[in-house]
Symmetry: C2
Subunit: 401 residues, 2 copies
């Protein structure tokens, strides 16, 4: 056990170092349609120029800019998208549609709204005349053949898949899924299909984390609820061969019923961190027979905050993701904080009319505030402030995916 | 065809009215572990008080506050989470752990860090003494039995699933998935497994939208690429019976090759909107033989922006979701805009050191900027401004899910 209170940054740095040392090296090839949420195991480079040829950004007319002095210009060809036009006849223009290739010899497009079709079939362009290159998308303007367009470690989403498709990449090499063994401890926890006995509660963390882990692209092995019984815990843990991480909630505290903590201390390595944050003080980190272990506090709001700030970036880094800092925004507080806290607080919040407002119940035992909130607001430690001062607001949308 | 330029708000209002008139009424019951991303078809009410009994928020000692005057107090019982304690012996305290039920008669908890265990086994609490009710989580403090905790129309995510689990709700009634027939039009578009011929490009929108629609919980029927051939388009459209929406990209413009638009005009209803936004000017909306149709512009950045701002809220509203406005944040611009635009612009942007910075290539034909960007920044129409003025930044994380 290491004593003292760790800042969130210290804890993140230590976890990231552990993640860097155990990055998943295996990869697999997946079809583009199945690659959403996966992480690139190797960079995607452009196999073609994008676009492959200069093309029109507008419905209109293509011509050589120098020929504008000779207008009105006759229309010598009509080019739809998908066609392969021949060279532009000198002194003429081509009717052209959006996305269609420019005919060799043309260098400028004017949109049809600025063109007048004369009775003799020629076209006159309205003033002001376009500058050279107007409405032309140059060949390779988006990417040049061979250029890296998506880096290794990129988390794939709809836009990345769209870009890969535009380069003809039908399959991508991605890091294999992380296998997470999820377990909950506590004699008080019962399965959803059972009635609540005296002193019992249902298990919320398991469902919170199961859905979240799947959003992060993990394969989840649900080990269920472990009773406060050392022999049963040991048996269950021995069954998780092949996992990359054992993620537990509850049971790891300074309390006398901390059997999971005892077993981890005996069979592996257990580091116990007290974090200088609220909610979410205790966090454990270690290994059991070579498998990494992260133990989150059991109070649901603490589970949520520690997973969001620590376990989530750890998991993504093991997959090779480099950009991990969730995007936060400075939003003025709607409330005073007259007594500074010794711990940094993460509170369930919404932004209303440009101000951060708080949920009325910030208890670490309560998850309801998180279903109301649009994000977490970071209240700095050791600082009092008045309404109007900016605080960092982190949207849940950034954290929950 | 209705002429004139529509504002994004006008277009949204019209689409929302159409969505409200065609909300999906069918529902199904799904297990909690499979409910992520679905929309509640009926409210979730608490089947039990949450928590079911008053419990301790700390590892420490529980007692009757009035007995503090008689301290040191003997320890009369030890209560772990999951136990069902008998009444507290008057004038004593109980050793108690986080989450364990308070014994009847106790009303206050002091954490163990503020307690001293004397040699005679009694406990003395340090000054300042706790106020009554300290560290006690009252019964029903989070939810009272029968109370609505998640409204109909709630989109379910990890926190909602966790809350439902804490109430013992093992299955939830959700709106059935929306069935979307996705099609791309254009003679220039080829499948990923084919080499590019002259004038051809790969289809990026299909993969962009396929992944995005799945994130929105839709069942996607991919109709593939439609050639610019009226007979083939008609045949393909006639095969989409059972879809709730036909979503197309490209092909609907004022260009002469707009066969899809022609067919929709003949066989159903076609409304053609010119939007006062950039990118993403043209949008069609109508129906084909009773199936709703939305036609997005074919340029990838236009597809992205119009899907994010119009199709996405439309789809979610048809599922019954009420809160649709993506959370935007006021962030100072890092650039000047000296010439006001007549259309509102949505630009690919990041937030760097508290300022909005733009991607260098904002062409509507380019998707690469979106893979670089963290969100869209809204540049108001008819307004010039200088760096430092706040603009609305919408994180992609809000839009892409």
């Amino acid at each position: 056990m290491s004593g003292g209170l760790l800042s969130i940054e210290q804890a993140q740095a230590r976890l990231m170092a552990q993640a860097d040392a155990s990055r998943i090296e295996d990869s697999e090839s997946v079809a583009l349609a199945e690659a959403d949420g996966r992480v690139l195991a190797e960079a995607v480079c452009a196999a073609v120029d994008l676009p492959p040829w200069p093309n029109s950004a507008m419905d209109g007319f293509a011509f050589r800019h120098a020929d504008l002095s000779r207008q009105p210009l006759p229309v010598s060809q009509k080019i739809f998208a998908g066609m392969h036009p021949g060279p532009l006849q000198p002194g003429s223009c081509a009717r052209i549609f959006t996305g269609a290739p420019l005919p060799p010899g043309a260098d400028t497009v004017e949109m049809q709204e600025n063109a007048e079709l004369l009775e003799d079939g020629r076209v006159r362009f309205a003033e002001p005349l376009p500058v050279i290159g107007r409405h032309v998308r140059p060949q390779a303007g988006e990417a040049r053949r061979g250029e890296e367009v998506l880096a290794r470690g990129t988390r794939l989403g709809p836009t990345e898949l769209g870009l890969a498709a535009s380069l003809g990449a039908g399959r991508l090499r991605v890091v294999r899924r992380l296998r997470v063994a999820l377990l909950s401890t506590g004699d008080e926890i019962v399965e959803l299909d059972q009635p609540l006995g005296p002193g019992q509660i249902y298990n919320s963390n398991r469902y919170l984390l199961h859905a979240w882990l799947r959003r992060l692209g993990c394969d989840v092995v649900d080990l269920g609820i472990l009773p406060d019984d050392p022999a049963q815990i040991r048996t269950r843990l021995d069954g998780v061969a092949g996992a990359d991480l054992i993620l537990s909630t509850g049971g790891v505290s300074v309390g006398e019923a901390d059997f999971l903590g005892q077993i981890l201390r005996e069979q592996g390595e257990l580091i116990f961190w007290k974090l200088a944050i609220k909610p979410g003080k205790p966090l454990t980190c270690g290994q059991y027979r070579g498998i990494a272990v992260i133990g989150l506090p059991g109070n649901p709001a603490s589970t949520l905050v520690t997973f969001a700030l620590l376990a989530r970036p750890y998991l993504l880094r093991r997959l090779g993701v480099e950009r991990l800092e969730p995007l936060g925004f400075e939003v003025p507080a709607s409330f005073d904080r007259l007594t500074a806290s010794s711990r940094r607080e993460y509170l369930q919040a919404r932004v209303n009319e440009g101000r951060v407002v708080l949920h009325s119940n910030q208890s670490s035992g309560v998850l309801r505030g998180a279903t109301w909130a649009d994000g977490l607001v970071e209240v700095p430690e050791h600082r009092s402030f008045r309404a109007g001062e900016p605080l960092r607001f982190i949207p849940y949308a950034q954290l929950l995916a």
